[in-house]
Symmetry: C2
Subunit: 470 residues, 2 copies
């Protein structure tokens, strides 16, 4: 019976692909005010799609947002409900419908918003982060209904479309819904992370948080011709390069004093747990395309990804960014960087340490330009109890589909909402990754493997059924 | 008679403005391969416009250029001739029809390619650099013909459309035309620079050269998610920030060893000449919008602008440049900077000193990433003899129109073609600036004052007539 359903999932692949193609075609880039309407349209599309399977949805308005000086409407949050059986437990599913920016000219081999299948891979922005996994839920429910399988839990859906832009407004809404929409939740599940490699499944029990920063330097009224003004003004961009060069050493160690003070010490048990994790450093290094990594010891490398802070520099706003030459002195430049944080670091303290360090560095610079460092959005790190029945149900589902015990891993990235759900429901949150490590979320050529997409449907189907015993 | 013509120039302003608006509307951004057709169209437009005044023009094909991996056609060069009278001397006029990149979103108050008049100013990309001055020549000729004034010289025009992108192909063409189009030239004149201030006219007898550079750092196969990969790869952008921070000190002194060795020593006569120049440091500082300048002594400041090298950093290609946050680790980044050079510096030596310094700095960094610094286009500095009859004719023309002797100044910027004309014709090249110092060439909100545009026509008219006595 189970295998019959699994075979039907496999033979439904073309259908699943067509649905995903429709979703990918909606350019729901939440960071782009020019595509805010598309982002909103994506939420409506999802509501309509879920209606086919009897999900009762409402769209919750979050009001406006000030973006680039304009009031733009926030996308609504989709609250969906399938089943009102008081005798059943309730599963809360979270996912997001917005995507990272993508332009073909960034280095995509295909149009980012046209789902394109090649060699068993489905290329397209959002194919894996997170439209593919979100649709796996819908496909799993569709399959259970088709085969008249009793769904053993009530299912609630919380789908937002601002995840890639700091989930503006969501936490506030959920807090208000603690005793409303979230009241009777027993389990939470999020499919918005990745396997550690490309072949073995895993469950994720830890995430890093994030503190992001913008450093603005200005001091001349507008961009100047470098021939006419070169040498007789203090260049904001030269100042910014210098400040940004003071953030890390060549191996990525963060130079902000005190930044490592609150990192949780490692227990012996935790140290041992790294021994059994299936992870190949050489394969990882090759997949990244690097000649050498700052750390090449397997356990130390995983520890740095999962339980140590890291600082990444992202770019500069306001300077010349095109190809070729433009001999200009930019007048106002903004450097972007972020720090991934781990237990027991707190964003407030990190922000304070970083801003204070930046101001010290700036004083050392001695430039008459105007310096304005600002913290951006922040999110706490998260660690879960893997002995919880929710995690155990997830592990059994993984084993059903893949015939192997999943690894228990942590992640370097941030899904701030994880902690919000844990706090507000008081229940365990399972991170159930469906995508492979090389899916390239946030990068050029994001893809979802055909295999992962299809087995993702099977896994969620199995997980929902396993919750009967949880 | 003279004043009658000048009044007619003044009353022709609306006509001049309409012609300039047509030229500005053609988006001849030579750096942008996507607007290469517009750049070519601009040359054709100019040819057609000059035909109205009896100028015989030919467009010289320069072949293709490899740009961003594609073969794109170079814009042709316009060679025009007005008059073939063997008894007259011949003036060669140079100008350029291409413009710097401009987008409204860069911070323009008006559409950059829509000429917009406000408070006596004509805003638009190219209004001052260099479409406005180029059209002043056409307007001056039109006015002389209207008033049946004998034009005392044959005039040749050399208008190109690659000036903002290194004048690719022009020097080679002109070298071939040494004994052809350039054979019988007696005077050269270029209107592509600016007054030292906003009220007093000047003639320019010196220019800095330029050496531009691109520094590429790569080492990971593609952009990576900073959550997943943060801390476990060597970030190319962090390396680049560090390298770019090693180019200058906070006051703009260049850190490349040996870079100042070939700067021509200052003679006593030269030192004295600075005493009489009309230049207000406070007004300059305020116009720039700076709180403090690296040098605030008038003479020392002018010396740094005109006779000392300077290094400007322009931007980064390949990193996040948008507003908001994008938590990505960019895989390949290219830093852009340029050095303005002065007598007796040579581009080849500067390139060699800079690349060697960059490689030393890179070794010190100790990163496993791949480092590739490259010199871009280079141009020699230039200084002219101001006692030449051509300069004296220019000075008399300035005095006719403005009732004041023009200052004799140098410029910080580069017009490499100046030296080419001097070398190939063996004649004096006059730089006759028509625009004000605050015209913001290469910046947001480039403009040409109504006054400067109108008096530019008068000045060129007077200059052409003065060449009778030169």
């Amino acid at each position: 019976m189970k295998h019959h359903r699994y075979r039907d999932v496999e033979s439904s692949y073309e259908h699943y692909k067509n649905v995903l193609a429709e979703a990918v075609a909606i350019q729901s880039v939440s960071a782009d005010p020019g595509r805010r309407n598309e982002t909103i349209r994506m939420v409506h599309w999802m509501k309509d799609y879920l209606t086919k399977f009897g999900v009762e949805s409402k769209l919750v308005d979050l009001g406006d947002q000030l973006l680039e000086g304009n009031q733009v409407p926030l996308p609504p949050v989709l609250f969906g409900t399938l089943g009102h059986d008081k005798s059943k437990k309730t599963l809360l599913v979270y996912g997001h419908l917005d995507v990272q920016p993508a332009e073909k000219s960034d280095g995509w081999n295909t149009e980012p918003f046209v789902l394109t299948e090649k060699d068993g891979k489905l290329f397209g922005r959002g194919s894996s982060d997170d439209k593919g996994p979100v649709l796996c839920w819908a496909h799993a429910i569709e399959m259970m209904q088709k085969h008249k399988v009793d769904i053993p839990v009530n299912i609630k859906f919380c789908f937002e479309a601002m995840e890639e832009s700091g989930s503006v407004g969501l936490e506030e809404l959920l807090t208000k819904e603690k005793d409303g929409f979230l009241q009777d939740v027993d389990f939470c599940c999020i499919s918005d992370s990745y396997w550690l490699g490309t072949t073995k499944p895993c469950l994720t029990f830890g995430l890093r948080g994030i503190c992001s920063f913008q450093v603005e330097v200005t001091g001349i009224a507008q961009d100047l011709h470098s021939g006419v003004y070169g040498g007789v003004v203090h260049e904001p961009l030269a100042d910014l390069f210098w400040v940004m060069s003071q953030l890390t050493d060549v191996n990525g160690n963060i130079l902000v004093p005190g930044i490592y003070d609150d990192v949780a010490p490692m227990t012996d048990e935790e140290r041992k747990s790294y021994e059994t994790i299936d992870f190949d450093v050489t394969e990882f290094r090759d997949s990244v395309g690097a000649k050498r990594l700052p750390i090449e010891d397997k356990n130390k490398l995983l520890q740095r990804r999962w339980r140590e802070p890291s600082l990444a520099v992202h770019g500069v706003e306001g300077a010349f960014y095109g190809k070729g030459e433009k001999t200009v002195i930019p007048s106002k430049v903004i450097g972007k960087f972020s720090i991934r944080i781990v237990p027991n670091m707190k964003p407030e303290k990190v922000n304070s340490l970083v801003i204070s360090y930046l101001n010290d560095v700036w004083k050392k610079r001695g430039s008459p330009n105007t310096f304005n460092p600002q913290p951006g959005h922040g999110a706490l790190p998260w660690v879960a109890n893997v002995q919880d029945p929710n995690f155990q149900a997830g592990a059994r589902a993984m084993k059903h589909v893949h015939n192997v015990e999943p690894d228990l891993i942590r992640e370097g990235c941030s899904i701030p909402i994880t902690l919000t759900f844990q706090d507000l429901t008081g229940k365990n949150v399972l991170l159930l990754p469906l995508g492979a490590s090389d899916d390239m979320a946030h990068s050029q050529n994001e893809k979802n493997n055909k295999r992962n997409y299809v087995e993702g449907v099977k896994t969620l189907l199995a997980y929902i059924l396993e919750l009967k015993h949880a």
